[in-house]
Symmetry: C2
Subunit: 348 residues, 2 copies
DNA sequence: TTGAAAGCGATACCAT
DNA sequence: ATGGTATCGCTTTCAA
C-alpha cells in the first residue's frame, strides 16, 4: 500500500496556509506567527510529512551531503576515518556518501563524478596514484574539497596530511641506531605521494648514517604469495636486510605470515614495523611496532576545513600537516653485534 | 571561477534540438535519428555537460542510490559487507550511501529516515536491537528493503542471514566433545536477534549433552577493562569455564588481551573461538578458531533480492539463510583429562 | 521521430 | 508576517 508521500502542498492545504509559510516554518529563517506555526506543525505531524531533499537540493543548488572517497575500507586506517566522518558530519546535519576507488584512478574519477552529479555540499578525498583528472574535474566543479592523507603537490585544495617523511625518517633513524644496516620499505604503490615522502625520509636517514646503512624499496605484489617469494629471495642473498617497514596493516599481516612461513627468527634476525595501527598490533607475538596515524585528528581537522570552505568559497587554501606517533613494541629489536640479549627498545 | 554547470537546456540550444530529444539521447529509451544524436553528443562533449541527478530523481521519483545502514565499520565483517556492496552496486549503476547506527536504535531511525528523504531506490539494513520504529517507517515508505545478518522475526521484508543457531550449536558440540564442560558466550547485545539465536544453539548443545555441560552468557561492557575484570571473576570461582566464544572480532581481541593480562594458560587452560574472521586470526598465537560468515555471499544474495524487489514491488517475500563455516585452529584445544597432549582438533 | 509544455516538490522573491 | 508565483533541471505526455 505504497501511497504517495505527502508534499508541502498537502501540508499547506491542511493547515490552510501558503506553501511559502510551511517552508518558512520548516527552515526557521523567516519569522512565522505562532498560531500558524502551530497549525503547520500539527499538519506535518498528522500527515507524517517529510521533506523531499531532492527538491530542496534542486532549488537550493546544493544538498546536505558530503562525499567521502577512500580507497577501500579493509585498511583499518580508512575505515576509522569513515567512521569518524559519519559521526562528526551527522552532528552538523550532513549525510555521508561513501564511495570507493579500489586504488584505481579511473574508478576514482567515475565515483567522484557521480558525487558531483549529486551536487554534494562538499567532498573529502583520499587521492589515488593518478588523481590529476579527478582533481581537474573537482576544481572545475567549484565544489568545496578537502584532500586528506596524501598531498597533491598543488595549491588549489585544502589538505590535511601527516608527516610521512618525518615519521619514516625517525623510524629509520631508530632502526639504524639499533644496528640495522639494511632497511626494507615494503609498499603497494611506489608512485603514491605518501610513499614518495616515506622513501625520502628513509633515504635521508640512511644518508645521515653515511655509508653505514642502505635502503631498499620493495613493491609487494597484489597478494601474500608474491610477497613471500620476493622476501625469500631477499633473505637468501648475502648481507640480507634486517629491518622491514610495512606501508599498512594489510602488508604488515602479509609480512608477518611470510616471515613465519619462511621460518625467519623474528624479531631475532629481523625487525618489523608498520604504518597504521591495526587492532591486532599488540595481540601478535612479537607485538607489532607501529607508526600511529592521528586518525581522529585528521578527520576532525578535515571536517573543520571543509565547513570553513563550504561557508566561504574563497577563504585562503590551507595545508595542515599533523604529526604521527611512533609506538615501539617487541617487533623491533637490536641488531648490534654485541647485544644479542642486550639493550632493548622501550616498550609500551 | 565557479561557473554554473551547463544544463540540458544549454545542450539543446547548442545542438539545436528540443530538450526532450536530449533527454532521449541520454536515456536511450526512445529512438533518436542518427544525425541529431551526433549533434547532441557533440554538444554534451563540448559543454562538459553532466546530468543533475537531483532533478532526474525528483522527476522520476526515485534516485539511483541504495542506502546501506550498518552498525559501524570497525567490525571487519561489516566493513567487508560495505565494500562488497559498493562494488556490486556500482556495476549496476547504483551509488551507495552508507550510514551508521552505532548500535543505537534512535540513531538508526534518524539515519534511515534521512535515507528515505533522499528517495533512495532501495535500502539494505543490518537492524539494531530495537528496530521496530525503523522497520515501521520503512514499511510505510514502501521503499524496497533487504534486511541482512539479523532476522527481524517479521514477514514483511526480504532477509539474508546466516545460521547463527546452527553454527553456535556445532561449535558448542565440538567443544563439548573436546571435554569442555563450562562454555561461556561473550556478547555485546544480549537482546539482539542474532545473539538470541546463538544462545539457543548453545543451550541446545548443552541440553544434548545432558547434565554434563553448562552454558553461561556474559555481557561484556563497553570496553576491554570491564571485560577483563568480569573474566577474572569468572576464572576465580571453582570449576571455572574452559571455553569462551566471542561474538565478533572486537570482543575476540579484548578477550585475548584479557586472558594474557590475567596470565591464563591459553589454549592450555581455556579454549577460544570467535564469530567473524579478522585478518589477524591466524597471526596470533595461538591461532584463532572462528565461525566464518559468508560475507561475499550475503552481499551478493542481498543485492539480488534488492534488485528483484526494486523491479517488482510485490514479488513474494523471501528469507535466505546461509551456512557459516567453522574454521578450527590452535585456540581450541582438548580439555579431556587423559589428553594433555592428546588428540588435537583438525587444523587448517 | 520531434517539439512544446506540464509537472516533480521545494525555495525565494515580490507584492500586499 | 503572509500569499502568490516563477524557478531549479529534468522526464514525460501529447500533438504534430
Amino acid at each position: 500500500m505504497k501511497r504517495e508521500p505527502p508534499t508541502i502542498l498537502d501540508v499547506a492545504k491542511l493547515a490552510k496556509v501558503a506553501v511559502g509559510t510551511v517552508s518558512n516554518v520548516l527552515n526557521g529563517k523567516v519569522p512565522v506567527s505562532d498560531s500558524r506555526r502551530r497549525r503547520v506543525q500539527k499538519a506535518i505531524e498528522k500527515l507524517g510529512y517529510t521533506q523531499n531533499i531532492l527538491a530542496t537540493g534542486l532549488r537550493r543548488r546544493r544538498t546536505p551531503m558530503v562525499g567521502v572517497c577512500v580507497p577501500h575500507t579493509s585498511v583499518a586506517y580508512f575505515s576509522a576515518l569513515v567512521d569518524a566522518f559519519e559521526e562528526v558530519g551527522a552532528d552538523r546535519g550532513y549525510k555521508i556518501i561513501q564511495v570507493l576507488t579500489q586504488l584505481d584512478p579511473a574508478q576514482e574519477l567515475d565515483r567522484v563524478q557521480a558525487l558531483l552529479h549529486y551536487h554534494v555540499a562538499g567532498l573529502i578525498l583520499v587521492p589515488s596514484i593518478q588523481p590529476d583528472r579527478t582533481l581537474k574535474a573537482l576544481a572545475r566543479s567549484g565544489t568545496p574539497v578537502v584532500i586528506i592523507d596524501r598531498p597533491t603537490g598543488t595549491d588549489i585544495f585544502d589538505e590535511v596530511t601527516f608527516d610521512n617523511r618525518g615519521a619514516m625518517f625517525d623510524v629509520a633513524r631508530r632502526l639504524i641506531a639499533l644496528g640495522h644496516r639494511r632497511i626494507v620499505l615494503i609498499v603497494q604503490q611506489p608512485k603514491l605521494s605518501t610513499t614518495r615522502l616515506r622513501i625520502r625520509g628513509l633515504r635521508e636517514a640512511v644518508a645521515e648514517a653515511g655509508g653505514l646503512a642502505a635502503a631498499l624499496i620493495v613493491q609487494c605484489g597484489p597478494d601474500e604469495i608474491t610477497l613471500t617469494s620476493r622476501l625469500a629471495e631477499l633473505l637468501r642473498q648475502d648481507d640480507p636486510p634486517t629491518a622491514f617497514v610495512a606501508a599498512n596493516n594489510t602488508i604488515a599481516a602479509w609480512l608477518m605470515r611470510a616471515l613465519r612461513s619462511l621460518q625467519v627468527d623474528f624479531p631475532g634476525a629481523v625487525s618489523v614495523m608498520a604504518f597504521g595501527e591495526p587492532e591486532w598490533a599488540d595481540l601478535v607475538t612479537p607485538r607489532l611496532s607501529v607508526v600511529r596515524q592521528p586518525t581522529g585528528e585528521i578527520a576532525r581537522t578535515a571536517w573543520e576545513l571543509l565547513i570553513r570552505r563550504m561557508n566561504d568559497e574563497k577563504t585562503p587554501v590551507r595545508h595542515v600537516e599533523l604529526k604521527a606517533e611512533i609506538v615501539m613494541r617487541d617487533s623491533v629489536a637490536s641488531n648490534l653485534p654485541r647485544a644479542a640479549g642486550g639493550p632493548k627498545v622501550t616498550r609500551r
